[in-house]
Amino acid sequence: MSTALATITGGAVSIRHATKSFGSKAVLNGIDLDVPAGSVTAIIGPSGSGKSTLLRTINHLERLDEGYVTVGDQLIGVKVHGERFTELPERAILRQRSRIGFVFQGFHLFPHLTALENVVEAPVAHRRPLAEAREVAQRLLERVGLGDRGDAYPAELSGGQKQRVAIARALALDPALILFDEPTSALDPELVSDVLEVIRALAGSGTTLVIVTHEISFAREIADQVVFIDDGRIIEQGSPAQVLDHPSHPRTQDFLRRVL
């Protein structure tokens, strides 16, 4: 394992025995999961099942009580210290996050910055020259279909446009891995397809995608691997055909019956 300050290379994710409680409530009960570099993994499950928490541990927005996460060749957020893990210094964690994009359900665009400034923010913070960062940002906005809205403030954009700017923002540091936390759940139904279209274009681009989603048909279409989580455990995982079309576990069957 390389030192914490080296940049993450490769977007493979390994989660080992991920365990976490909020107070007395166990949210993750020892999850093991492997995501190959460049693949697309969809995580599905009932609300409160721990799927968002699991996603947030991958870029260390949540700390694990037990277990660990690696992305590429690096342990995330911690280092081995004798027999135990100790948390990395904040600077090292922030550096790791700069290689892991995160797209929130509620967008969380910076409301006081224009769309372009939102996308430029992280590259400039990581010492890229401003002119170059703006050029890259403009290209990314074009890629998500908003090349002409760079000067708009988030309040002037629709939900679907906001989420597409958020995806451009997550792409700005050329991440090895992008995490999506229910990216379409806060959108009006007619705006969902634009966002899914952008995510679809990212699949197979070499960037690893992990998507927590309720869009079952979308998962079936783009995922290499589908993971069904309930009560903080992986109940079933495999190809979309296995998990979504021929689920073997009664809880998966029950869940899919309710959402489809």
Partner: protein, 270 residues
Amino acid sequence: MRSLRHPLQWILTALVVVVALNFGQTLFTNPAWEWAKVPEYVVSPAVLTGLKVTLIVTLISAVVSFAGGIVVAVARLSRNPVLKSLSWLYVWVFRSVPLILVLIFLYNLGSLYPTIGIGVPFGPQLSVPTVAVLSDITLGVVGLSLAEIAFASEIVRAGLLSVDHGQHEAAKALGLPRWRQFSRIILPQALRSIVPAYVNQIVGLLKGSSLLFYVSLLDLFGVVQNLGSTYPTDIIPLLVVATMWYLLLTSVISLVQYFIERHYSKGVAR
């Protein structure tokens, strides 16, 4: 605007108008106002000197208190238990003690600590006479700021806490350095609620500066008060002059507030 349908509202409105008109009339008919003397005092050198002191002290204190308020608020919100409790203690003390008490304490600091300085305990010391440091305007600025920082920090703290948690998460998820998260993302959004509240606070600061008269600093109010004791018959026009200046200054502050608010409402749904 709702129309006045009820007779009681009609009667009350009429009453208020009559009272207001009556008072307005006395402004002209009551010779004791001595309006004729107002113009010469309003721009007299003494009054203008006092006005300058008021302006300088208020302006410097406003800036110092704003910066200090941010520092104290950040300390209060930090995870460091020492900084947290010290800032709490500071706010508790200076929010509780009346400004005039703080000022008179400072005025007498020379007899409490004849010299002030800093140094290594039992090692080399650097010190200067208290009276030399804390004189006139400096004393005014220090006194007003000490009190004002306590209030400013509470305004800043409320503003910082009002920023949506998702903004912190988004800044973290992008791996922005800690200082940049604060200066670029959180603070500018917090300022939107901080600035209007703080400018309002500056109005209080401006008026609070009149207390400096009690520590021998001749601000606008001090000058008027002094002139009043020299020419007791002119006290009314002198008070009118002070009132006019304070009204003007407060109006200017309100105007500034309007433009600043407009600036910070950028990106908010219209």
